[in-house]
Symmetry: D2
Subunit: 346 residues, 4 copies
């Protein structure tokens, strides 16, 4: 019963096979190999973005922070939801990569930024002089850290506000595949067609070993990104092994099938939880995460029974009822769901 | 005939098998898995350094720059050979990671720093006031970028000079396995027993897919390194796949056998080159790199015949005779050597 | 009627005289002159801190950011009030100087942090792993940006909480003289005796031309600060002109007399404002700033009549009633107060 | 006999008077005052550059590092003479301000860069891939750190080379007034007409108290500079006192008269030294610095007699003959020259 994180799952066999297949003879390093070229073209095709610039790295935090550094001057402010991973869980990577950029936090239910909340936050940091820093980037996570998603019609109004202030828009897509699978919108609709300038696309949580991509939709914004990646130590020498993961992940929509599986398992589990009187689900389950408040002694019992799940303190928790996060993945089995529900019913 | 770089070679089958074997079920992320614990202990054992702190990352530049940032305050100077990879080929990564640290370059034949040259360089940057910056770190590459090595008796006098000035000593060990195989000295003798404070140990060029380790021999110097790695985006979530590479690489001294193979191939090739009248080898071939000056039309002919090798402009080159670098690897075959020699003799 | 900012006032004549007096012949640069030595000793005496390390700079933002960078590792978090100058008005200087450090904001009435609010903020950023960043510094402004002050008995409980987590405590003393004058506590009581590790002491707003000091009470925490100041471009070459300001400012408690004057003028004005039915003072007036909500048309009329005062949007403002900030200084005259009150009564 | 540094001299009386005159009543802070506006226009007029953007700061290192950071991306390389102040004496300020930029050093006699040496240096750092960093800026000091100057005809060929590689050109003008006075060329000829993109113009060494200006000749390159200055803590609140210095300094060409005085005193002293058999002047004396090699026991005797001058170790020095630097300033008197010569002749 491992619902601790989608990165606790392993690597999908098709990805593993692709790594082995790529391991033939010599190949030029640093992305100057044919597999990389092919993988870049494949990403462009999937996003219907033939002019986009694509860069692969191995870690999601790097993918976020490098993209943000590309969009944000060192004296800029990055606006994001209060619960955004880039604020809470990256040990300051965006500020570091961007040379000291500041964060500005936005409140919002269910992990989502709304136009009203964005406008409020922007009003707090006026743009009239150099004391205030420069409002530079809006970063949205899709799927969000609270297991909800932004459909295109939620994204476009936000990017419009940002662009009206000359701000760029970044999307943290550590779980982008889950958002595509959940909304049914196309990758293009969820990104550049809705005004997103840069996407950090995550493969690792969705069946890869170590694969993330920075997608800069406007090539003018990609200038010198390769230097930025290099000096941060994020250019793989044996780069074909990033490319191989990407190709296998996109082949036959494996990425969406895996994310769809994870989403479906979350829906099933969430449906079961609604049948359990003492379980309180905190927000819509639209991707592969469930936040559920349970009696503390129940949580302890589940953990003794083998459950892996993160504590997730939320407003409204008490000493006796607390929130945990359950994450499903491409590898979550029906048996794990059944076991968890049975344990809860016991 | 690919002698372009040791990172153009693939992944050794034993490493690939280990990756597959590690891909069983769930495992906690971020290094909190049993394989990582085992791999850390194994590195400690190999280096006879039970108190050393060990951190894995995927890219050599990250391994160097993070180690340097740990040793060097933001206003410090890092002394290294003029041809050191950290100066010539990392796009400023050390300065970036260390928050603006400066480099100070040392001249020296065959890619090696000598005590006299180090003293000269230190004299150029006196320590008497805050205008000068702080002399903070000496970084040595072993094997060097010119295919030579430092035996322990070359290292100890250098670290003594550095320590006498309160400077720390870093070793760029992108090809450390080649240095161990070449000198016959133990890992401990080549590092902490000779006064090295931190080693960036490279697996990628020596048969791994993406594996480097930062080894901080003094745990007091390791304080908060994990934060530093995290914020630079270098903490793998599926960390077991770094650990699995390390374990397989160290198993039965695979790392030294692979490096020994590469070294031997370089020796063979170098021996053959000495038989060819128009070929001039520029420095001792002690590891897996050969720098050879050849007639320009010969180089062109070789390249047409399929040779991959880097141009390496050196003092003494002319319009008609230029230097190229030939790198052997764990995967270099006798056939490649034979083919190259035959092409040269043609 | 200039109540725009205390930095809109000029330089006190005694300070100006001291600058002229210091302008005799040659003096060694960079703080190696006798006046600097004397000024450093004087500060130590005033703070009863003979071992403190003292550094002078010309700008308050530099004084804050350099002190914070000294206390905060690049992956650290700096906790401060949501309205703190270091967060709202320094364009990200602390994060820049500290190599990417993050801010964590604390709510609190009247511009003050309370123990409960500090504990809440700390609980939001747990210290259990490297994803969270390191809780490193608590920064308190005294006087606060809302014109209130911390007496020692308010400071000590906050520093105790910080120290219990191994965090350092910084005080933004841009208006420290006003806090001393207001509380009647000694400089030592308001700082190191209450657990403050570093003070950014501001002279510029209190009658100097350009003079701020970083005071590091624990000399062990001052290590290499001089390099940090130098590389940020904050070491004056003609350093005697900083020292001369400091000496004149401290002479005969000029600094406290000037701050006391400013505080008294604010009290007078605030008393007058309480007599005016449509004026609403938002928080206790304990130093030299008044935040007053007025009918919008009154504000416009005052401005037409020559008032200089900053808009200061506050919760509770409406389209017709808005808040402005009135700042008094060492140079505020009775006539200005009278004129403003008369204009309001008109 | 103080020939230690031009910053050991005091403030010219006209500058001091201007500071006193500016100290009337209130003035808006942060450069939003009439004096600043006037001073900016005056600089534009002097440089015949009506579209230039001008920013004042108090310290020369800040002026250099901020200008360089504006021109150089964080992954860029700054090329300068091996003896450039920005490399030897600013504790890494350029790399810090520019977010980790690297230096590349150029050799050259008499402190000057030549086109051939620049081309050699550029050839060492090819631009073909991201490993190498980006060649971004050429920085020239005028007058140089060795007391020589660049006339326009020396500057233009260097800027042409830089611009051909898309590099920007910065001039460290800590002693720019001395260069103007020495060459007789106009400020415009020595800067933008010869291809200089940014000038760090120094007033402090030439009679001011604390005044430096960053001049960005192309307004497109000035974008957001004010944020950069603010976040580095270099925006004075009582900004009128920077502006007042600038106006007085430029009035009636005071700046050139003071620099001309310093240059003339250096010429006189240098002429006297050539008459002294054991004194060896190392390079042309074109500004206000003399580098002279003397018997060590003579140096000791002079110091006992009150001489202030910096040791300046140079190639060719021995244990018995060493080089010292003699700097004249606006305040150097005929009596000091006479005393020094007499002491040497004794």
């Amino acid at each position: 019963m491992n619902f601790g994180s989608d990165n606790a799952s392993g690597v999908h066999p098709a990805i593993m096979d692709a790594l082995a297949a790529a391991n033939q003879g010599h190949a030029s390093g640093y992305g100057r190999d044919p597999l990389t070229e092919e993988a870049v073209e494949r990403v462009r095709a999937v996003f219907e973005a033939p002019r986009a610039e694509i860069f692969f790295v191995g870690v999601g935090t790097a993918s976020n922070a490098l993209a943000l550094a590309q969009l944000c001057p060192p004296f800029g402010r990055i606006f994001c939801h209060r619960g955004a991973h880039i604020e809470t869980s990256e040990s300051g990577a965006p500020g570091f990569m961007a040379g000291g950029a500041q964060m500005a936090l936005i409140d919002g239910a269910d992990g989502r930024v709304t136009p009203a909340a964005l406008n409020d936050a922007l009003a707090t940091y006026p743009q009239d002089d150099e004391h205030d820093g420069l409002n530079a980037v809006l970063s949205l996570s899709n799927a969000t850290e609270m297991g909800t998603v932004y459909a295109p019609e939620r994204i476009a109004p936000l990017t419009a506000i940002a662009h009206a202030q000359d701000m760029a828009v970044h999307m943290d897509g550590a779980r982008f595949a889950n958002a595509v699978a959940s909304t049914g919108a196309s990758p293009a609709e969820l990104t550049w067609r809705s005004g997103v300038d840069a996407l950090s696309l995550g493969g690792t949580k969705d069946g890869c070993m170590a694969l993330e991509a920075v997608i800069l939709f406007d090539p003018d914004r990609a200038r010198h990104f390769s230097f930025r990646r290099m000096r941060a130590g994020h250019l793989w020498s044996k780069h074909r092994f990033l490319a191989a993961q990407m190709l296998a992940w996109l082949d036959d929509e494996l990425w969406l099938r895996l994310a769809g599986h994870a989403n479906a398992k979350a829906r099933t589990l969430s449906h079961e939880l609604t049948q359990i009187s003492f379980a309180e689900i905190l927000n819509p389950v639209e991707a592969n995460e469930i936040f559920v408040r349970l009696p503390q002694r129940r949580i302890e019992a589940l953990r003794k029974g083998g459950l892996r799940a993160a504590d997730w303190p939320m407003p409204g928790d008490s000493d006796t009822r607390m929130t945990i996060r359950l994450v499903t993945s491409w590898a979550t089995t029906e048996a794990e769901i059944t076991a968890l529900v049975a344990a809860l019913r016991r």
